[in-house]
């Protein structure tokens, strides 16, 4: 692989590239699902190829190929240079890259049990058993289970001399029970919706989740939701479960801090950001108890945003995003760092695969733990709603106004969960919402949630991101709007 990298870099140099970096990636994936006792998807895929990014005449060009021959990669590199020269026809300023050291390294992410080595029968037996356990509950009309595994080897080389090999194995697992009754569909998922939990790691994730224990519990809740009271429409106290808070962070902190969005580079598709450059170090983003970091280091945990080096060859870092409630940092790249006065990239540039251009992506954007326990949080709440497990999410294209709904909620009165509520939702304005946070649970209840499906870019790229979160409380939140009929 290094030979292909070197040959393409040299070709780019000879064709006039001032800078080039190249990624050869070998990606393997396995997907297993069941539905109502039958195997659904049962598939495996692999993809290998090379993508090269160059700067020529002060502009970017990128080309990719699956022709891993010396001629194929040279042709690809020459095409990237030709594209860069075409880009220069409509450039404003020459691309500047923040300086970075060169690295020669090999790194492998954590993986105790390689999921590709676990017998398929074992995996399917577990899924079918969980599927059966959900269907045993009367009223369940649809039981679904899901396993996803990926193994990605990447070889990065740059014209500056870096040569970095990384192997990342990711695993995902989830189950869901749906109940159609009368004129409504209710669903419960475990441990999270839309495919469950996802980590940088192996089959140990699946074994840790105790699917068979949780399957009947969520199935019973899916059925019980039909007889639950409708979540009221009110302004009130909201407690979010950890996975929902993780998605709240993703949408209302993670995306607005992407510097390419802030600079207008995503204006046509993903949108821009209310976090204009004047807000850095000046905006009170959240209440003083809120601290958010973007931490790609493995020491933060086995998240989908954990790695040793990003796809520009910049080492993983921890960046303060919100400190004591104040807005302190953006997600940056080598190209954008100087625009916010940084002399180095924050190391957040990643690509979906060999045929996609690396771009700024969330790493692990996490809220740091507070001091509460969920029990104390509920006991301390006189009147509120506790919402768990995302059902829908939406936010405007500058990341101000959001609305989320969850699968289930619980009414809290006098410090106790008193009854189940169906169709819960809440909405708000990002900074008002975060400034209303008055309690965050402690590290014992903090989980690094994986979001495997973050879409961005044109052509669209899907990326996994991590979000450490613990249950947290927010005051004066607009609740129940999604189902309002006024």
């Amino acid at each position: 692989m290094w030979d292909y990298c070197g040959h393409s870099l040299e070709t780019a140099r000879l064709r006039g590239a001032r800078y080039a970096d190249v990624r050869v990636m070998h990606m393997r994936q396995r997907d297993l699902t069941t539905k109502n006792g039958q195997v659904g998807t049962l598939g495996q895929s692999e993809s290998i190829g090379l993508g090269i990014r160059v700067i020529a005449n002060g502009a970017w060009g990128f080309a990719s190929t699956d022709q891993l021959t010396r001629e194929g990669v040279a042709s690809c590199a020459a095409q990237a240079v030709a594209i860069a020269k075409a880009s220069a026809l409509a450039k404003k300023e020459a691309v500047q890259l923040a300086p970075e050291e060169t690295y020669v390294d090999s790194w492998q992410g954590p993986c105790q049990k390689d999921p590709f080595e676990i017998p398929l029968e074992t995996q399917l037996d577990l899924l079918l058993a969980a599927d059966a356990a959900m269907r045993k509950v009367k009223g369940v009309t649809l039981a679904e289970t899901d396993l996803q595994f990926r193994k990605i080897d990447s070889w990065f080389a740059s014209s500056s001399g870096s040569k970095i090999h990384q192997r990342r194995v990711t695993s995902g697992c989830g189950i869901a029970a749906t109940c159609f009754k009368g004129d409504a569909i209710q669903k419960r998922s475990y441990p999270n919706s839309f495919g469950g939990q996802h980590i940088l790691g192996g089959y140990e994730l699946v074994e840790s989740l105790e699917l068979l224990k949780h399957a009947p519990l969520i199935a019973e809740e899916a059925v019980a939701l039909h007889d639950a009271a409708q979540c009221p429409e009110m302004i009130g106290t909201l407690i979010l479960g950890g996975s929902q808070l993780g998605l709240q962070i993703h949408e209302s902190v993670g995306h607005p801090i992407e510097l390419d969005r802030v600079l207008g580079q995503e204006a046509n598709f993903a949108g821009t950001s209310f976090l204009t450059l004047d807000k850095l170090n000046h905006l009170q983003y959240a209440s003083p108890i809120v601290n958010v970091v973007a931490d790609a280091r493995i020491s933060h945990g086995p998240g989908l945003g954990s790695f040793a080096y990003d796809d520009e060859g910049v080492p993983a870092q921890c960046i303060d995003i919100i400190k004591g409630g104040a807005f302190r940092g953006y997600l940056s790249s080598r190209e954008t760092a100087h625009l916010v006065g940084l002399n180095r990239s924050g190391g957040t540039v990643r690509t979906e695969g060999w045929n996609r251009l690396p771009m700024i992506r969330m790493t692990n954007v996490s809220i740091l733990p507070g001091t509460w326990t969920p029990e104390h949080l509920i006991a301390d709440t006189d009147d509120g709603v506790f919402m768990e497990t995302n059902r829908s999410w939406s936010i405007d294209d500058r990341r101000y106004q959001f609305q989320f709904s969850t699968e289930i909620a619980w009414e809290i009165r006098g410090g106790k969960k008193v009854r189940m509520l169906k169709n819960p939702s809440y909405s708000g304005i990002t900074t008002e919402f975060w400034n209303s946070c008055d309690a965050i649970c402690n590290a014992d209840h903090w989980v690094l949630w994986g979001t495997p499906n973050c879409g961005k870019g044109q052509p669209m790229q899907t990326m996994g991101t991590g979000h450490g979160a613990a249950p947290a409380r927010f005051r004066n939140v607009k609740i129940g709007t999604a189902f309002s009929n006024e």
Binding site: G43, S64, D66, V81, F180, F274, T481
Partner: protein, 468 residues
């Protein structure tokens, strides 16, 4: 770097100057023949092979300059085997015989790990397909320089108006071949060109987008001017109270809402009781002015005329004058429902079954100017954004307006309006359609392309307002 490899690089540069072209069909057909031969030698009774080749290039611009510019070319081979009532799929982009042997072994190994599927049906045999011509040679010759020059002209339109342009100009071509061991063979190739532009005028924005198999039908300059003029009108938005409004939805907004219904017409979704049409097929559900079909053969549609099993897609009348009449089927769902297969299967194995991918919503006699003229008070909606399902059975969708929301008063377009969040049942919306324009191919970002009309709709529910 040796002198020898430099010489090879020069060869590469000459190739890079031309636009890459698809391989011949014969070359990809040979891949299918090879895999089928290897499978037969292994004693595998049924094998299906998909081969897909994609060439795409995309020029992306923002802040009145190109900031990303990419090209890709790849071939993927996807193999499905059936043995002893068990099936699985393995996909690879390595095109040598060793890779195919390995994929076949993995396929058998995956399949053997599961219980026998009593509902697994034999692969279909040879089929007849209608000829669909969506490969336009003119599109295949568009170069990076030509896209860059079109972008430059777009940026000049923006600069002349004191605006900032962002968007994409992409061109590409693809071909798909599908063959199986029972003699089925299908092939299809198409081209595509797409231009999308957002114009920012201060804090106001607007947007225009088009795509076509024929790059000559996509006019970047015209789209840039449309977006620019609208962005100028979008300045200084007023804030209105949330509530129910009459809305005039431009085609992109119609597409993005109606497009979310597509999977509800899957027979498997109805059988699984996760469709909003569960217990509703055959009963009046929408207004009598709503007629919806799935029609891959419509002249403004795109996509494969065969499904994931290689069966010809049929035109299906989904909604007839407000009544859901028919669903779409795969082989399996058709057998379970005792219906005729309509050729809408996803590639097997999968848990989702099938879906209509070529929706055509019948239009009416009105037009956007007539809708505006007939409106005493309402809102003109350019585009919607971040649409998600809040309630799957009532089909309540939430999302935002974006890139141009305007107040219509006494038959005229007036002030720009701050963007709203909506929480609106699509079922209710399609009962409240007052006027429809003529139907044409529309493209947006939340749903795949469809043929839809603009619509005037009463009582559309906006629940909250944002800050711009």
């Amino acid at each position: 770097m040796s002198a020898k490899s430099t010489k090879r690089g020069a060869t590469g540069l000459r190739k890079a100057a031309a636009v890459a072209q698809l391989r011949s069909e014969r070359e990809l057909h040979a891949i299918i023949d090879t895999v089928l031969r290897l499978a037969k030698a292994r004693g595998i009774p049924e094998t299906e092979v998909h081969v897909e080749e994609v060439i795409d290039a995309l020029t992306r611009f923002a802040n009145n300059a190109i900031h990303q510019h990419v090209a890709e070319h790849g071939v993927v081979v996807s193999i499905r085997t059936v043995l002893n009532g068990r099936t699985a799929r393995v996909t690879t982009n390595r095109l040598d015989e060793d890779a195919f042997r390995s994929a076949l072994d993995d396929c058998l190994s995956l399949a053997a790990s599961q219980p026998k599927d009593p509902l697994l049906l034999p692969m279909p045999g040879k089929q007849k397909y209608r000829n669909v011509q969506r490969f336009v040679p003119a599109t295949t010759s568009v170069t990076a320089e030509e896209r860059a020059r079109a972008v430059k002209r777009t940026c000049e339109v923006a600069e002349r108006s004191g605006q900032v342009a962002a968007g994409i100009f992409s061109t590409g071509q693809s071909q798909t071949l599908l063959g199986n061991s029972r003699g089925l063979f299908a092939s299809y190739r198409q081209t595509q060109a797409e231009f999308s532009v957002t114009m920012q005028h201060g804090s106001a924005t607007s947007w225009a987008k088009a795509n076509s198999a024929d790059a000559r039908q996509v006019d970047p300059l015209a789209l840039a001017i449309t977006a620019s003029e609208k962005a100028e009108l979008a300045q200084n938005p007023i804030e209105l109270a949330p509530g129910r409004y009459t809305v005039i939805l431009e085609p992109a907004a119609v597409l993005d809402l109606v497009g979310f219904l597509f999977y509800d017409f899957s027979a498997t979704a109805v059988r699984d009781k996760r469709s909003c049409l569960s217990a509703r097929v055959g009963k009046p559900l929408f207004g009598r002015n709503i007629t919806l079909s799935d029609d891959v053969y419509h002249p403004e549609q795109s996509g494969l005329p065969f499904d994931g099993e290689g069966l010809p897609r049929q035109r299906v009348l989904l909604v007839d004058r407000g009544i859901p009449k028919n669903l779409v089927y795969s082989q399996r769902s058709a057998k379970l429902a005792h219906k005729k297969n309509t050729g809408h299967s996803f590639a097997l194995p999968n848990e989702f079954g099938e879906a209509p991918m070529n929706l055509v919503l019948a239009g009416g006699n009105s037009s956007v100017p007539e809708m505006i003229a007939s409106t005493d008070r309402g809102l003109l909606v350019t585009r919607l954004w971040y649409i998600r399902e809040v309630d799957p059975y009532e089909k309540i969708m939430t999302g935002m307006t974006r890139d141009g929301l305007f107040l219509v008063e006494k038959g005229k377009v007036g002030s720009a309006v701050r963007n709203f969040r909506f929480n609106q049942s699509v079922l209710e919306m399609l009962r409240n359609v007052e006027l429809l324009g003529s139907s044409h191919r529309a493209t947006a970002e939340e749903s795949f392309e469809m043929v839809v009309p603009p619509m005037k709709i009463g009582n559309f529910q906006f629940s909250e307002v944002t800050k711009f």
